[in-house]
């Protein structure tokens, strides 16, 4: 563990990412302190350019953009982390089952995974959100449903590799129940690459949420960065501040998470430095 921390801290990019992420978390946690009340409530005249009172300006209903950026951090991070967690859960369950039980189960699950990878993921996500009606929950579900297949593949590979290891074979021979083997013996050993991949998924999920919101499929009851850009698209030529500031928030957050994720990867697999899993 100490070695891990040391390796992580020696990586300047990862450290920078961690600091940025901490700042964004700070914004999310203190949003209600610095900007009490509903961030969706009008605070001043509409479309004020950035000045002393509203450093990020106001939007078309006179809402404070800075307050929106602070409060938006909550929804964006929430959606990012929750959908990544759900996605990893689905992926691990499917992948573990496929990797541990071979034969027919594996075959079916592999086909199902392949099939989900064949459907154009972003259009599929849009379809799901439209069917479930836009909201934080439906967005999380949609993102999880379209992102789990690579996790499942990774989990399957890890499980297949681990299953043939001696300590697992010994447990099987000793008659330990399969679920117990999976949860006690295999999962802890497979968890490292899954954490790395899951952390990168958080970034992907935040990007996807922003695109969905931009297309008008966000949750209007909760302010998010994508929603802020999407709901002011018609005036982006006149009022640049409405899209620039929330956009910067997205870029910094995603960048921070990617840096941390890679830092974790390098720290956990010192031998495979630089090798990164890519997800679309």
């Amino acid at each position: 563990m100490r070695g891990l921390l040391r390796r992580f801290a020696e990586n300047p990019a990862a450290t920078a990412g961690l600091i940025m992420l901490a700042a964004i978390l700070f914004a999310a946690l203190t949003a209600s302190f610095f900007f009490p009340g509903d961030p969706m409530a009008p605070r001043g005249a509409p479309l004020l350019p950035p000045d002393g009172r509203f450093p990020f300006g106001t939007d078309m209903l006179g809402r404070d953009v800075l307050a929106g950026v602070f409060h938006g951090a909550r929804v964006s991070l929430l959606i990012g982390f929750l959908s990544a967690i759900v996605s990893v859960l689905i992926g691990v369950v499917v992948g573990a089952a496929a990797g541990f039980f071979d034969g027919a189960v594996d075959d079916v699950l592999v086909r199902v995974t392949e099939f989900f990878q064949t459907i154009p993921s972003f259009i599929f996500a849009i379809l799901l959100v439209a069917i479930l009606t836009p909201g934080v929950t439906s967005i999380i579900v949609a993102i999880a449903v379209v992102t789990w297949p690579p996790i499942a593949r990774l989990a399957r590979t890890e499980f297949m590799a681990l299953r043939s290891r001696q300590f697992v074979e010994a447990a099987v021979l000793a008659g330990v129940p399969r679920l117990r083997i999976i949860s006690r013996e295999i999962l802890p050993n497979a968890v490292t690459p899954l954490i790395v991949m899951g952390s990168l998924l958080v970034a992907t999920a935040i990007l996807t949420e922003s695109s969905l919101s931009f297309l008008g499929l966000g949750d209007p009851n909760h302010i998010s960065w994508g929603y802020m850009i999407g709901s002011s698209r018609t005036v982006f030529r006149q009022a640049w501040w409405l899209s620039v500031f929330p956009g910067c928030a997205i870029v910094l957050t995603v960048l921070a998470i990617n840096l941390v994720g890679e830092g974790l990867n390098d720290a956990l697999n010192p031998h495979l430095k630089g090798r990164v899993k890519f997800e679309s």
Binding site: T133, S231, Q238
Partner: protein
Amino acid sequence: MRIEALNGIAGRFLIALMALMAVGIGLAKADPVRGGTLNSTLWPEPPGLIIGINLNAPTLLPATKIFEGLLTYDFNLNPEPMLAKSWEVSKDGLIYTFHLRHNVKWHDGAPFTSKDVVFSLTKFIPEVHSRSRATFKRVQVTAPDDYTVVVTLKEPYGPLLRSFDAISAPIVPAHIYEGTNYRDNPANRHPIGTGPFKFDEWKPGQYIHLVRNDDYYIKGEPYLDDIYYRFIPDSASRALALESGQVQLATQNDLELVDVKRLNSNPSLKVTTKGWEWGSPISWLEMNIRRKPFDDVRFRKAVMYALDRNFIRDTIFFGFAKVATGPIHSSSPFYTDDVTKYAYDPAKAKALLDEMGLKPDADGVRVKIGLLGLPYGEMWDRLSQYIKQALGAVGVEVTLQPSDVAGWGNRIANWDVDMSTTYLTTLSDPALGVARTYLTDNQKKGVLFTNTSGYSNPEVDKLFAEAASLPDQDKRKALYDKAQKILTDQVALAWLVELQWPTVYSAKLKNVVINGLGPNGNFASAYFEK
């Protein structure tokens, strides 16, 4: 200056002088000139061009240049000749006689006769036209000769004379449609009408092209050589295309109102909000009276007091709206402003809610309700956001329920909603466009644009029924006045604003908006100033 205030010789002299000046200005104006191509925006791409089979706004704009009605209507919705050169109505209001023009030809060269009118009014419209079906099922239509059409009613029906424009009663060629399946007719892809412009080409995803009808029945008209309706999918792009002169006309929802405000100051463009009198759209917040707490009139009044409709007009609609006072549009001859009014007064709203026993809890919340907003883009989303904030300020917590057009329509039609926002055209006569929203027997589950709120009042039902069946306009108005008073007093709906759809056009383009049909007119007299 108020002319009636001018008395005596000096006043009369002044009037004469002004009249002379008017003549002088008229003479100085150049005569219309032939030639030129009009480029208009059109969005979204329409599903078809046959009025009746489709009634979408983007169908009507180009199709009203191809198809015509017997009549058209001025800004006050008084009838003017089109395919009928004159008409009489019998004293009892039961028999309408139309005298048709003699020199009209269909775009395929066949002559236009009373046979086409009889076919359109008795077969085509009752079969396909969801909006006019009910009107024309009341009438019998006969043709004593090739150029006379007699429309007979069993009992008087006030709005009939306002139902003969190209949108309400398009005249289609009998020789092409009679005996066919109207919806599958190959001519639907290449429409044939009598109008000043002929269909030329539809390039999917790009444009609809109309060309001048050289055989048009008014000599010299139309002046334009052709019209392109171009599909530009993004409103900012449409505004840009107008500014750069690539298109010369845009209307209705083509432009974001924030852009219209900017275009208004461009000297090479003109903006008018006239020309939608036939439609007279009003937006409102509908409350499901079948559900609590909306069944209590005090709650509905509280909602009215809680909303600052001047703010809605100025900030959300950028001034292109007028605060609505009730169910009938202020441009209608049947409008009265002698109704119960609700100025913005949150304190009154709170008092009413208190009176109902809806006390605020620790968080200041008295009651929680849902709002299904009209899913027509950012502007309507902002309206929903504003309503949420305004009602929240008096302790009514609103949850916004996002949806798309299909989901929105489905929930409203099936009464599965607390509150919703919408706008609806109130049309040329209250019997056509207003009554449908309030009549008890028009509560039809599963059908959009009926009485979906569940409002029911036998007195109002009676007033609407009586007003529809009278031929005399003054008597009708008295009944509608009474209905307006009752409906506003009971807040059947929370009327928000009358929408003023802007038409933005090149300053060189003349005679675009010349009557109550506005951009849905036939453009026969439109021309470009050289």
